[in-house]
């Protein structure tokens, strides 16, 4: 089919070695998909204007769900009728994003017939994002989707689609079953995911170890990160092989030809200085190890996390709006999370969310609420004792809010008693 819009600027993005989304979309436009043609046309206009051309939101959705669909309309619909409506559906991805092609095609097929044919694999939260549907198609898409066993993810002041790293499926370091956790949490919270009822959004992300390959510590209100309590496992033979230059440094991450200098690259870079190497034996003072993963990353064939595994739970990460970005803060230093035994986690999540739900202002993330009311208040709400592991350093200002019952005699005093001893 002939090209509907000239896109001289976008055409520049067909050049170069990186795969071109323009080439991709153009092909589909040329194959007759009007939405794709008009999407390119409108994008070209945005390139010319240096301004986007989508209207602000719009409340659309599927019956009985409060989220999962983001409304979007063109602000130049007469020029680009194919994207006059361009709503997205957030489809909940399978945990850690493995696909059986047969199953993925269920979605592709629905989307080809009823949507724009454009998608994001995946959205930043983790969903399969179907980009561009007309309002009237939403309900049919949803019907077809669910009948095939797919469901929408979250949006609005609700739980957002949880996500996780590849974990035990293909990583030797996973200390927890990230997929199972992700799936279980998603299932447990189906109502909260689909029916916004909270002060604002809430995200769970789960990484199998402190490398945090799903960036949970930066992007999730509740970040669950695998860790261990016992000793790093050492394979002395493999240590010797690294020392002898038989194995590549850092699992080959710097090329197979880059070998390891155990002293300089491992021991000297250990942040706690708890390792020693005498040219023959590598020893770790595990009590002083903070499980940063550096040594394990450097020598994957020689070192492995311990076997008494579980997770550290951090709360409060978020992007800057409104009060500035936050990273997650340690709340539960260690929680056992054996497969299927997630009761403690669910209890914790419930307490945390209840407290936030009760105290949070409109559009206040849990991390901001903790800032406003204090970390201590939050710890009390989730019934966790204060621990130096909650903090990087103790307070340096002297402004302690004592409660009346902490002080002998309480707060009530009589000025007359005072004046009896101290003349005015």
């Amino acid at each position: 089919m002939a090209i509907k819009h000239q896109t001289p600027m976008l055409d520049e993005l067909e050049k170069g070695p990186w795969p071109s989304f323009v080439t991709d979309i153009k092909k589909m436009a040329e194959a007759g998909k009007e939405a794709c043609a008009d999407l390119l046309g409108q994008l070209e206009l945005s390139y010319k204007d240096k301004e986007g051309h989508w209207k602000h939101g719009g409340i659309v959705g599927v019956l009985g769900y409060g989220g999962g669909v983001i409304g979007r309309y063109s602000d130049v619909p007469e020029l680009f009728p194919g994207v006059e409506h361009f709503h997205t559906l957030r489809v909940n991805q399978p945990a850690s994003k493995f696909y059986k092609t047969e199953r993925l095609r269920e979605i592709l097929d629905i989307w080809n017939r009823r949507g724009s044919g454009m998608l994001n694999l995946h959205g930043s939260t983790g969903d399969m994002v179907l980009l561009g549907a007309f309002t009237e198609e939403l309900e049919p898409i949803f019907g077809e989707m669910t009948s095939k066993g797919w469901d929408l993810g979250g949006s609005g002041s609700a739980l957002r689609t949880p996500s996780c790293c590849v974990g035990k499926a293909r990583c030797e370091w996973a200390c927890i079953d990230t997929q199972d956790l992700c799936y279980t949490i998603t299932q447990e919270f189906q109502d909260e995911l689909h029916r916004p009822a909270w002060p604002y959004k809430f995200k769970f992300k789960i990484s199998g170890c402190p490398n945090d390959c799903v960036a949970s510590i930066a992007r999730s209100d509740c970040s669950i990160i695998g860790t261990w309590r016992d000793d790093i496992r050492i394979n002395a033979e493999a240590v010797a092989a690294y020392a002898g230059g038989e194995l590549a440094a850092n699992g080959g991450a710097h090329g197979q030809e880059t070998k390891l200098d155990i002293q300089a690259d491992v021991v000297d870079l250990c942040p706690t200085g708890c390792m020693a190497w005498d040219g023959k034996t590598l020893t770790i003072n595990n009590a002083e190890c903070t499980r940063c993963m550096h040594c394990i990353n450097m020598m994957p064939q020689a070192l492995r996390p311990g076997t008494d595994t579980g997770a550290t739970i951090l709360v409060g990460a978020k992007a800057p709006i409104l009060e500035g970005a936050q990273l997650g803060s340690v709340i539960v230093p260690f929680m056992k999370l054996e497969e299927g035994q997630y009761g403690d986690l669910m209890d914790f999540a419930e307490k945390a969310i209840d407290w936030w739900d009760e105290n949070g202002k409109n559009r206040e993330r849990i991390g901001e609420l903790i800032q406003r009311l204090g970390l201590s208040e939050f710890l009390k709400a989730v019934e966790i004792d204060p621990d130096p592991r909650h903090i990087r350093e103790p307070r340096s200002n002297p402004y302690i809010f004592y409660k009346e019952d902490e002080v002998p005699g309480g707060f009530q005093r009589d000025i007359a008693d005072y004046r009896e001893k101290h003349a005015r």
Partner: protein, 361 residues
């Protein structure tokens, strides 16, 4: 309506696994990156699993997705996966299949192996002008231009450590842009222009006022064409262009061809490896939007990557490097200008000042 299926959640993960994953779940022993884009994972069962990684554009058509399905059908028993950074991974257990797969991908032309180890992997990004209503920049176009330029680092392991680049098209930062080695951020620089004649109809005035973190918005009465409307005014001196008012009220758009552009941030990280996770810090406050290929942005990012490549120690992330040499040296070595805008003036500003005589000339 009564047969309507709801709240079933996503398909269970193990429906999506090939047999090799089922059989070796939780049994992996170690991995080895054989070459850029090719991982080997060895299981305690003796199984060897080869993973081949190619770039995903994230924004793609169903046709493109079908392409991946076909490859997976041909080589991987009909299974494949996406990474947390939108790359695509094909897995095979047999070394001979690995070679065939690599060849097939090479033949495609747009499926170059890479994204592993000490290089630049895919840029995590957001919608930009392709879908969102608040962007200050496009997303996919900038990513394409930057990755074309940094392509040599996609398929090689020659950087001191992994360099994670992210892009968000507005201050909402839909992504881990605030903790990236290099972050590309769309920024507005003009206060909202207010549509007084429609504001009261389109927005809730109290919510709009409450949305502003700096209390720059006040209720007001405004005359337009002789008619008086309830509306709001913005104290431009207090506006820091966060766009939060626009999120709450469509009658207050910020987008502006001259006002909008890119800010670059550096030195963030997420992993707990060696140093604790860190926020990205401001490197370049503003670069104008230069579609279609954003040459200034591309050039400056290369400048940063090259300065880092030349000067950092092996295994040192960008932020670890900057902190070791000191930010005065960072600006010197990257050739970037230091300005008033680099000095924090938000809530924790005082914690970022230099409270010591320790610095370098």
């Amino acid at each position: 309506m009564q047969d309507r299926i709801t709240d079933i959640g996503p398909p269970k993960y193990d429906e999506m696994w090939p047999d090799v994953i089922k059989d070796n779940y939780g049994k992996w022993l170690y991995h080895d990156i054989l070459e850029p884009g090719v991982l080997l994972h060895v299981s305690e069962t003796g199984t060897k699993l080869y993973t081949v990684r190619i770039p995903g554009t994230r924004l793609m058509t169903t046709d493109q997705a079908e392409e991946y399905c076909k490859i997976a059908d041909e080589f991987c028993d009909g299974y494949f996966r996406f990474t947390t950074r939108n790359n695509i991974e094909f897995m095979v257990t047999d070394e001979s299949k690995l070679e065939a797969l690599k060849k097939a991908l090479a033949d495609k032309g747009n499926m170059p192996l890479g994204g592993t180890g000490a290089g630049v992997t895919n840029i995590v990004h957001t919608q930009g002008w392709v879908h969102c209503h608040t962007p200050a920049i496009d997303a996919s176009g900038v990513v394409k231009a930057v990755m074309d330029d940094l392509f040599e680092y996609w398929g090689s392991h020659k950087l001191p450590a992994q360099v994670r680049i992210s892009l968000a098209c507005c201050l909402n930062m839909c992504g881990a842009v605030h903790c990236s080695d290099i972050a590309i951020l769309g920024v507005h620089r003009k206060p909202p222009v207010i549509e007084h004649s429609h504001l009261d109809k389109m927005c809730e005035i109290p919510t709009t006022i409450a949305a502003c973190p700096t209390a720059a918005i006040k209720p007001s009465k405004e005359e337009v064409d002789g008619e008086v409307y309830k509306s709001v005014t913005v104290n431009a001196d207090r506006c820091m262009f966060c766009g939060n008012c626009y999120t709450m009220c469509p009658a207050m758009p910020l987008a502006d061809a001259d006002g909008d552009g890119i800010a670059l941030w550096v030195g963030g990280k997420v992993s707990n490896t060696r140093s604790m996770p860190k926020f990205s810090k401001l490197a370049v406050p503003f670069i104008p939007n230069e579609p279609p290929r954003w040459p200034t942005t591309v050039k400056i990012i290369r400048q940063i990557v090259e300065a880092y490549a030349a000067d950092a120690n092996r295994y040192e992330r960008v932020g670890e490097w900057a902190e070791r040499i000191g930010w005065e040296r960072f600006f010197e070595k990257t050739g970037l200008e230091f300005s008033h805008h680099h000095i924090d003036d938000y809530r924790f500003a005082a914690t970022t000042w230099r409270n010591s005589t320790q610095f370098k000339w």
